[in-house]
Symmetry: D2
């Protein structure tokens, strides 16, 4: 599969040219973020929303318990909620379905010819489905051709990773490229919105921390290895890095904070490590994608940063903040990172994947 | 220095026999805990409170902004607050002075003949001053004789460690004894009361996490090494363990949660590690100390434990809870621990040190 | 109905004499409080727990997601959870069933001969069922005889009020007796545990206030009128007071704070109002009931009290705290009150009702 | 004083024409909001910042502990912090000085010829100084002429009210105009940022509510009366309304929630009351002021609104949200309102006052 002729990155599609997109799982927390982020998108126009059958047939404003901003975007209010199955009145589908049902439904859409960009966990580790962060492994989109062929689909599926894996992988990428990575310890303090709605009970969170998140550590130990792996002969050869995660839930609305230590393959100085972050210029920056932040990684000064309250909105929620880079007496270096879990870690990440696919010509058939 | 004849552990001192004790720094958060814990103590009777000169001369109830329970204990209410300097109407002094003033004041008391049990940081790493957790290193009280001699004091100082170091050291002790310890990674989520009052601003904590605590990581990297070290020729030979701490502040009232990974010297199985905790029977259990919890270490089942809200009061705040013991792909094992920071980690820990000293005969001169 | 010969209040039943009691709805938040409060009760012995059929047959420790203290009480752990229907191995039943099922199940127990003390809302406004706070309207137990007769039950039902109504009614009682009451405005700030478990979603509560609680205002407008009403000819003549409630939910674990203004029938001074609280000596104080607090009403000095964190545990959660009593330019006076919603406002209140009934001889058949 | 010829409301001042403005008290919470809101203002250009002498001489980025957004606005970063005294390099001054120093400093600026728009409390009830909400009492600017004359100032002072008084007064205004107002009960649940920084201690707020706010109730009882009063013979005749406030602090970052009941002079229906809000069209709407929200009052459906988290940002923090309008059995009607305390209730309100003054010609000398 080679990339097709790119459109000029500077030419904006005209309004009338916008791609019609649908969101399945549109009433959940991540679905709401999709609807919000799509409300004024220069390339994509939201024309369809779908949810569980109990919502189907209602207007979106009736079906949703809107939580992510004061008002439901005007254009979405009157859309009729459809069933989560093809056909939908759109050319491209975003999925924020719960893991329990995503697997089958998403494949139906791919089979029916839709490019589908999923935030669900079902297909993330599927060997034919690219698990992508545009700044990290844009070339993994190369799996699409083989996926379509082998599965016999006319559409395809592209996945973004778990909300806790995005920030970590973003930070590991420049380290891997420059110095090689051997080991990573990561302790997360994850936000409430990562558990969906209603998510954790308020009684469990008031003045408290939950010391585990079901299923999260396995995702955090494996998804980065696929994304940091290499595209080889139509498959992904995983990176060989030992990742040891410990996940906790804290009483924060949005923003996963992660405290990490890592061992590198090369012996390098503290300034080299910092510079690898501050000078990180992913290829995708040249593509002028609408949801791409100006800086993928924001290196913060000040021992008290990043903080969820102050830093989660950096780059409109698409940047990863890094602070407290310093030596570690057990591994080599340690630091604290922060990433917005429902924007960069979910809806925004999926949207950026679709923008990348469009630029790379995967939506032009 | 040899231990003097112990009193029979089962004989309770009669009321009339109780040792008169004073608290300096009595109006702060830890000072209040001292006053609370001493309000019904079988061996110690609170007869003096001291604080900064702005409080001196007032009754305790006027001077204190009481925060740790609904009511100031009856006996403390009418005590007149004295200056933080000898003489005080007592035989033994507890100190919860702020680090900035503790150094000098505490030495004055020792010089004046008072046994002083301090929660302040000033003398913790002083080579002649025992830094003690009774379950971990009761023998370090052996430094007292040399301390008195070399400093020319008729009294002495015994310190308890930083609130974040207690739980960690309690958990490391059985590992060190049984298997030998090489490396420890520790990420803390520390409670608000650890910062004293007023401590962190509420605006910084609502829906937020602070990714650092000033000065804390250095304490956490060094104090355990002294406590896990060996008493040799009148000094402490520090344990050789690499500890890498990362400290954060979370919106929890009481209870420091710590997520740790560690590498052992011996290759052992998961069950061996768990058993080292569940079978930990420190010598001090036989001493029947009033503030000693029935179980120093409580090994919890259930992936969602320990939690500050549910577990911080175990053993009346004197037990350390351990959960989620499992293998670590980077070091050997990992787990989550919880310890009450103002009880075990401060006033209660200091009180237990005094009880130990009494049993060991250091207060009988 | 006349009170039967009372047992001497000073004689404690011997251990072997304790009444066997059961709890239906034993796995919920209020059910857990019942189990906790009964774990060391001098008169009652917990011998049966019942819950929904999904829990029936399991041991209590397997069935419950214990949240109210570190450990499930030893004696309750191995009790087998029964179905919520007679017969249960006990002489008296406490009910914390959800309102949706309580109505029918509770009547079954009464029909089957059990005295049942309910925290559920189903029967609170039933004209034959006493809605009781022992310090407020102990004489309403007089409804029992007629209830049994008219309904043809060999057992009976006694109710305690909604958690938000207890504190308010306690505070209104001395005002009503001394000065007569005309109007009451009340704005509540209610705790999370009042919504049961899981209750409110944590995402709705972090850094937020919910400005309403479904169904709560109606209860708060009517239940006090029944309790402050008079027992007349086998029924209750409701008090004629206009109560206007506004209820909100705040991010507090336990403790309902209520801000009230009221107009009295007599013109009285501020000190008279305060004295009516500080001198309130309900008849029940003489009955020496195990769950009765020493002071039903605690009048606090200090403009910053009561506070949930500092005052909710007063009287072991059975006292109502009052602060900020002052003149109101719209009605006559205003104040702030605080009451523990799952102890005094639920399980503890029901338990106290049973103790009252026992003292009054209603359990002696 | 007569209003001077207005500029055409549709003509925007060109960039080069912008009025140079300064902020005194620029490093505090409200000062930061001023700096943020001024960072891209079409009429005003921030050219000076001033603070206490300990900050004077530093760059703004060194002097401030920035808390209100991820980054200090670019243009403000390098401004040198001046002393809080004239002269400042600007034509107009905004003041968010603490009450303790505001009185004298603000008068110095007025004497020195600066129009000063203050958020401080010192002059709010001064009979010659207009206390203004543009939607409520724009005509009170008419006090300016007499103020200058009587005080002998070449500049002048205009005040905005206390953060808790803005939303209340906005909501009372249409009621007063249409129906006449007699009595108002108001219970507030105020946000942390209203106390400035550091404000309340986090230990006092975690899982807690503070039942009073020092000095707040007096402001809330009197400031609305001045704003709802009439400009008569160079002074304000206060409105005769009995207002009874009770203020509390809750663990919310931004947004004061207020629960009110009120008695009207006319007997009107519920729909009339609602319509008075939904049809409220203040004169200022025609003035096209940059900081004016499209709707001053937003009437929300849904019993669960307004909520701080969901509604505080309505109208970019300048709208007042109203919900739960319903009958009150004690007074006539009751409702819940929400207003952003540091935007509408402080910096944004002051800015809007300056915009009004500019439109009205008071800045054209």
């Amino acid at each position: 599969m080679q990339t097709k002729t790119e459109e000029s990155p500077t030419r904006e599609r005209k309004r009338g040219d916008r791609i019609k997109v649908g969101v399945v799982g549109a009433t959940g927390m991540v679905g709401q973020r999709f609807v919000q982020l799509l409300s004024d998108h220069p390339w994509f126009e939201l024309t369809a929303v779908a949810a569980s059958s109990s919502s189907a047939g209602k207007s979106y404003k009736e079906a949703v318990d809107w939580k992510v901003s004061p008002e439901i975007p005007q254009k979405a209010r009157e859309l009729t909620v459809g069933e989560s199955a093809p056909p939908l009145d759109c050319e491209l589908v975003f999925s924020s379905l719960p893991g329990s049902v995503a697997g089958e439904v998403e494949e139906e859409f791919a089979r029916a010819g839709y490019p589908l960009f999923s935030n669900a966990s079902s297909h993330r580790m599927d060997r034919l489905i690219p698990l992508v962060i545009p700044e990290v492994n844009p070339d993994h989109l190369g799996l699409i051709e083989g996926q379509k062929e082998e599965r016999g689909w006319s559409g395809f599926i592209v996945n973004n990773p778990n909300c806790s894996a995005v920030g970590l992988t973003m930070v590991l990428k420049p380290l891997q490229i420059r110095f090689g990575l051997e080991k990573v310890m990561v302790v997360t303090q994850q936000a409430l919105s990562g558990a969906g709605y209603p998510g954790e009970a308020s009684l469990d969170m008031v003045g408290n921390v939950l010391p585990s998140i079901s299923g999260e550590e396995e995702k955090l130990a494996t998804e980065p290895l696929k994304m940091l792996g290499s595209l080889r002969e139509g498959g992904i050869e995983r990176a060989e890095i030992a990742i040891s995660p410990q996940c906790s839930r804290v009483n924060v609305a949005d923003g996963h904070l992660e405290t990490i230590s890592f061992a590198l393959k090369k012996e390098v100085g503290l300034e080299d490590v910092k510079r690898s972050f501050s000078s990180f210029r992913p290829e995708t920056e040249k593509l002028d994608l609408p949801s791409s932040p100006k800086k993928a990684l924001v290196l913060l000064e000040g021992d008290d940063r990043p903080q969820p309250r102050l830093d989660v909105e950096r780059g409109a929620g698409m940047s990863t903040s890094i602070g407290r880079v310093r030596e570690c007496p057990v591994l080599d270096y340690k630091l604290v990172l922060l990433s917005h879990n429902t924007i960069r870690g979910a809806a925004g990440g999926s949207l950026l994947n679709a923008e990348l696919a469009w630029r790379r010509g995967y939506l032009n058939d």
